[in-house]
């Protein structure tokens, strides 16, 4: 086998190695990111993780759920740990909403040298009072890592 046959492969490997940040970003695993960070509360159930396009870019998104009864405590924990903005009712559902347009749009979690974004939502619901959160069947929490 001629050594020249390996040149394109070597050049490709070198290009990967030479691109800042690429080796660790090449194939991050999708999974339970909060468990990997070792602080997922028992009231937050891991559902799945999928690769999808968000804001026009590829991303890995871990999905969790919690009951309406536990949602306030989970919101407080995520806010304290990741600075996730508190949920706000917008027609028609509860969602992570920055205090101002200049504020970060989601919570932030540093893990494995990457930033993961943390958000929470009730989905569409007519329940617009915090005191009535326990009547909402479940809330969803998303932990997202962008891939590019």
């Amino acid at each position: 086998m001629s050594g020249s046959r390996w040149l394109p492969l070597a050049a490709f490997a070198l290009a990967l190695w030479a691109t800042p940040g690429r080796p660790q970003d090449a194939a991050p695993a999708c999974g339970d990111f909060l468990a990997k960070a070792a602080w997922r509360p028992a009231t937050l159930q891991f559902v799945d993780c999928e690769k999808l396009e968000i804001y026009g870019a590829p991303a890995l998104r871990a999905h969790y759920r919690t009951s309406g009864a536990d949602a306030a405590a989970v919101e407080a924990l995520l806010s304290a740990r990741t600075h996730m903005p508190p949920l706000r009712f917008n027609c028609c559902g509860w969602e992570t909403a920055p205090a101002s347009p200049k504020s970060p749009p989601a919570g932030r979690l540093a893990l494995d040298g990457a930033i993961y974004e943390v958000s929470m939502t009730s989905g569409e619901t007519p329940v617009n009072a915090r005191a009535q959160w326990p009547t909402i069947e479940e809330f969803q929490v998303y932990v997202t890592r962008f891939l590019e």
Partner: protein, 228 residues
Amino acid sequence: MAGQIRYINEVGSDGWVAGADASGVRIPLCKYTKVEVRETRNHRTQFQVLDGPRKGAVLDMDAHQATRYFGATPPQQGLAALRVKYGHYQAGWVSVARHNQLLDQQFAELQVADVQATVTMNTVWGREFTPLPAGSYKVFAPDGPHDRNMTAFYRNFESTLSSDQLWFPIDVGNRSRYVHVGNVSEGCVTVASLDKWARICEALVSHRSTDGRYVATLTVTGAPERSR
């Protein structure tokens, strides 16, 4: 392309693209946001946001993405004319998209550009919000992506639905009323004609006031058959 003025001319299917700030956090930008490209280095294109809620932010994105999403087409100067005329109230309207849920809808007809659509002005009764009173209101440029869980499931019913996370705040009260897509309204202008949303969205987002804050003037006429 360094120093060139560009606009977000393409967006993801959710209606947004995002640049990363210095800490790596994604900052979403809507279509027709004005940017100035600074430089491209190490496969990243750095740019400054020149209008909208994130005006002044310096962000970067993958250079290939920048080539794909940035373009030379600016928004139209001036406000789109969005007209809503109250129609009938229908108790127990069947929302097929919401698994045949029965909803009490105060309907209205919307027109913007050459698009006509059915909207619901209220679905949830006896609470804080009621149908928007007749009058004239300004409509802001989108404030930020709204959670996909609020609307993504409508795509199961209308496969052409896109930009569903693009909502337009109405300049009234605490600005929690929006022009958006869906079947449930709490004092919003909620576009129930899911197949019309993409065109309505483009008609709105393609306009900007001189200061870049607004996209449309909303004129509401008539009176709701049910007001509370």
